[in-house]
Symmetry: C2
């Protein structure tokens, strides 16, 4: 593998080249910007947007410093209209490659991708380089149409060196609050373990929870519906960089009975509650990948012992019948039973059915979820059920929805595209979310959120899977183009639901036809070089804005 | 390759086995019936159907002779209700294998498939064998709900040996006439050449045209919109069993000018007109696969000569500018100019563009069509344009439809499934046609109709392509399960269009929602072992009937 260097975010000696074009312009956010050389997207001196109240909007800009800007230290700044909270950040490069599959990656040429939306920093820029910027606008409940400007301020002189306007039309519609019950069902499995490793703090300590705040805030903003909790060490064996510590300490006493310490579990759930994440508590896993359960053995001075077993043994039933009885009692005391789901990931049908039977017997107030394969036998039983897009029969999606069960699509290393890898087309994130709702599912699941590599800011490649598959939020709570475009898609999905309900209530057949025609390209799921996710998403965005405008007349 | 024998349709010595079940039952038509052994479909003693006026309905039944029937010669017969024309035929086995691709087939085990709907014949049956039957019902404009019966009559005694009823509800809706302008755009390229070869008659003779009648009648019944005509020998080189004779005799005179004899062309077009096929006249091909054009050379005593050229030469321009000028003049005289389309098949963009330019210059009244790849440059130019399903951008389908241009999907050897091979799932034919309309296209194209193998009744395998790809109508005008299920799908497509228009006109938002939900599984195009084309088609048929019933209340 050839080593490549991400061009340092500092001024280096460079020849000054004059440019006839303006050094700052809006671009679309559907293409990755190379660090050097021509960009393939259209550059626009201004832009217009139609938005709803409650919407989070992302805008990408590109700075290509001319001779005047070369060597200057610039800080992006937003001038914003009333009721809008806008901020602008330089984007930051990290490494990826073209691997889009499972397993150990082959040797592939790495390349630098501007996936990270950096912290609020100034940058010393040089001509000949590309500097993408990301603007995030939160459109408040009282926001009014108006103009925003992205400015680049020279740190030395305080002068505005470049400025581009964006004209925002606020349409008279509001997105639901992401915490509302019927909002898009987002489920990104969390890895707080990576955070305490990276910052070297005590698990579940106040310092740890404090560090987790920005990640939880981004989850809440997107509409995250589930808190990922771990019952036993270790649900997924070797596949992650950081092991998943249990949030329950299980002890086998000398008399053969069991006791449980729920301190960490309670602390994490209460923390996520306080951050607005939930309400579902997902508990991993009755059928971990190694079927190996760790506990403290009082007879061995409290040392760790392991029960390596299968789901059809008396030992397994003893472990789980005792655990489930205690757990439901604890959840009852906390008032959490009706929001708790025993969660399973990609196991065989017989194992799943045995686990369900134990839950039904020993903790009947709890629900069950699965992310895995499609089993017709489980279709009406699992409260939340997530499988890859393709195998879902459309009539089952509808039946589950009508039954009040939650169905989500997931993507993982097995889906080359569309996906949320660091090398995925940026529009994929928006596409997948809107596609889910348009085709009768209720949301999206991803097995990782902040499952960091050894150098999460510098290199998204991991020993397994496509690069970036394991995380898309970066250290210090840095967002990414992948997260922002995912949020964009979730909001498109909510617009689709709201517009459909509104049009049905009005009985406006013409607009219903227009909405159906707008959704058809997405529903067909047909992508090609002539109909990329970027094209499909952009057309749908325009159609949804036009239908909103029509409804508002 | 192991030789296998199709079990002869005659009694052979067999042990008589008693069966507790009735020997005659309805089955669904979505699974191929093996000649012997258990069948995997549900057997029903009776069946109910909801139909529209003008509908052609196919029903499959299965005879598994018991001891009583063993050795008897049986003839199927229909008792039918008023206003319905029903007939019943034994199905007939031919050979296929599991090859579903292009190119030279590998050695694969052949198997017998009951694809052929045989002529009106009696059959001596034996227990231990399966005998599928096919019932075709034409529901007339004045048909009323009632009961049909399939009877099996013993030829020797005249006694009815078995009988099963079918209850038909005629809904108060009519399908459009298949010849109407906006009907599903079906385009099956014809091969009358195979027919004169098979029956050894003179091309374009009265005997030949007489023999072509049943094939033309089946085309007209299905809604065929185009008459396939050949300008020069030979558009497709070696890929067919029978060469495509030109319908125009082109002569280069001694003075270097050209003359044309349109006798065969006129005769074929007039024959197809008389059979109700059309109105489009498709003319192959300005850019044949070998770019080799045959003509008679007066300077060489009228012997055949060949112009092997490319589309960018003066010779090519000379050949086609003269031909097109004369051809348009001839078409004007016949009154056919506005229905004639210069047709091209799978050539490069530059060739296509040069041909279009010649048409625009020398025969500007004629239109142009292409079956091939998707070229954005041609999307608004080609009158009829057919490409495989996947590459069509959905927004282009809509734009072309709104512009009055005709877009069709084709399937060929490159599409493993769904398709119309003799080894395809029978429901595929219905699925593809309904899918076309539900996803914004106007119809379907197939490159062959009766492009027979050496033994078309006995073996559908050919030296190239998947078996059955080259034809699905058999000698003596025998229909097939593939043709009948294709017609079923075309009629579903017409029901979708009619119901949508009706519901829009009524402004019934509830039914529109119901129709949209019914179409979604088809539009999604997502097939799996849990959602086969059979399941998707059956669900949609039921939904369309339920919506029709609701509208009729």
């Amino acid at each position: 593998m050839k080593a490549i260097t991400i061009i340092a975010s500092m001024a280096v000696a460079a020849s000054v080249t004059a440019s006839a074009e303006a050094p700052l312009a809006w671009t679309d956010a559907s293409a990755h910007t190379p660090q050097e050389g021509a960009v393939k997207v259209e550059l626009r001196p201004d832009t217009t947007l139609a938005v709803w109240h409650g919407q989070r909007v992302g805008l990408q800009a590109l700075l290509t410093p001319d001779a005047l800007l070369n060597g200057k230290t610039l800080r992006p700044r937003m001038k914003s209209a009333g009721g809008m909270q806008a901020d602008a950040r330089f984007m930051r490069y990290t490494l990826t490659n073209d691997f889009r599959a499972c397993g150990v990656p082959p040797e592939l040429e790495p390349w630098a991708v501007a996936d990270i939306i950096d912290l609020d920093t100034a940058l010393t820029v040089e001509s000949g380089r590309n500097y993408p910027l990301w603007v995030t606008v939160e459109v408040g409940k009282d926001a009014q149409s108006g103009e925003l400007s992205l400015e680049l301020v020279d740190e030395a002189s305080g002068k505005v060196m470049a400025e581009i306007p964006a004209s925002i039309t606020v349409q008279p519609f509001s997105l639901p609050d992401p915490s509302s019950k019927d909002y898009f069902h987002l489920n990104l499995w969390q890895q707080p373990y990576a955070v305490y490793r990276y910052y070297n703090v005590e698990p579940w300590s106040p310092e740890h929870l404090k560090l987790l705040e920005p990640y939880a805030a981004l989850l809440a903003r997107a509409g995250q519906k589930a808190i990922s909790t771990i019952m036993f060490y270790e649900p997924w064996g070797e596949q992650s960089n950081d092991k998943f510590l249990p949030m329950v300490e299980t002890t086998k006493k000398k008399d053969g009975t069991w006791s449980y310490d729920y301190t960490a579990f309670d602390r994490y759930v209460e923390f996520m509650d306080s951050m607005g994440v939930g309400p579902i508590i997902e508990c991993f896993s009755m059928i971990p990948w190694d079927m190996n359960f760790r506990y403290r053995d009082e007879a061995a001075n409290g040392e760790y012992a392991y029960l390596k077993t299968t789901s059809d043994t008396p030992e397994y039933v003893d472990l789980w019948s005792n655990f489930l009885s205690s757990f439901q009692k604890h959840l009852d005391e906390k008032g959490w039973s009706d929001r708790t789901v025993m969660a399973m990931d990609e196991r065989g049908l017989a194992d799943i059915q045995r686990a369900i039977k134990l839950v039904d017997t020993y903790a009947p107030k709890l629900k069950v979820s699965l992310a895995g394969y499609y089993h017709p036998e489980l279709a009406d039983k699992l409260y939340t059920y997530s499988i890859e897009v393709e195998p879902w029969p459309a009539d089952v999606l509808k039946r589950r929805h009508d039954l009040g069960l939650v169905t989500t699509y997931y993507t993982c290393c097995a889906t080359p595209a569309p996906n949320l890898f660091s090398n995925s087309d940026p529009a994929d994130g928006a596409y997948i979310m809107a596609y889910s709702i348009a085709t009768g599912a209720d949301g999206y699941l991803h097995w990782s959120y902040q499952n960091w590599t050894d150098d999460p800011l510098g290199d998204t490649r991991f020993k397994l899977f496509a690069p970036g598959d394991t995380y898309f939020i970066y250290p210090d709570g840095r967002s990414s183009i992948r997260y922002e475009r995912m949020v964009e898609g979730i909001q498109m999905a909510e617009k689709i639901k709201a517009l459909r309900a509104d049009i049905e209530a009005r009985g406006d057949m013409k607009l219903m036809k227009q909405l159906n025609e707008a959704l058809l390209p997405l529903q067909m799921g047909r992508r090609s070089k002539h109909a990329t996710t970027a094209v499909i998403v952009e057309n749908l965005q325009n159609d949804l804005s036009a239908i909103s405008a029509e409804l508002a007349r």
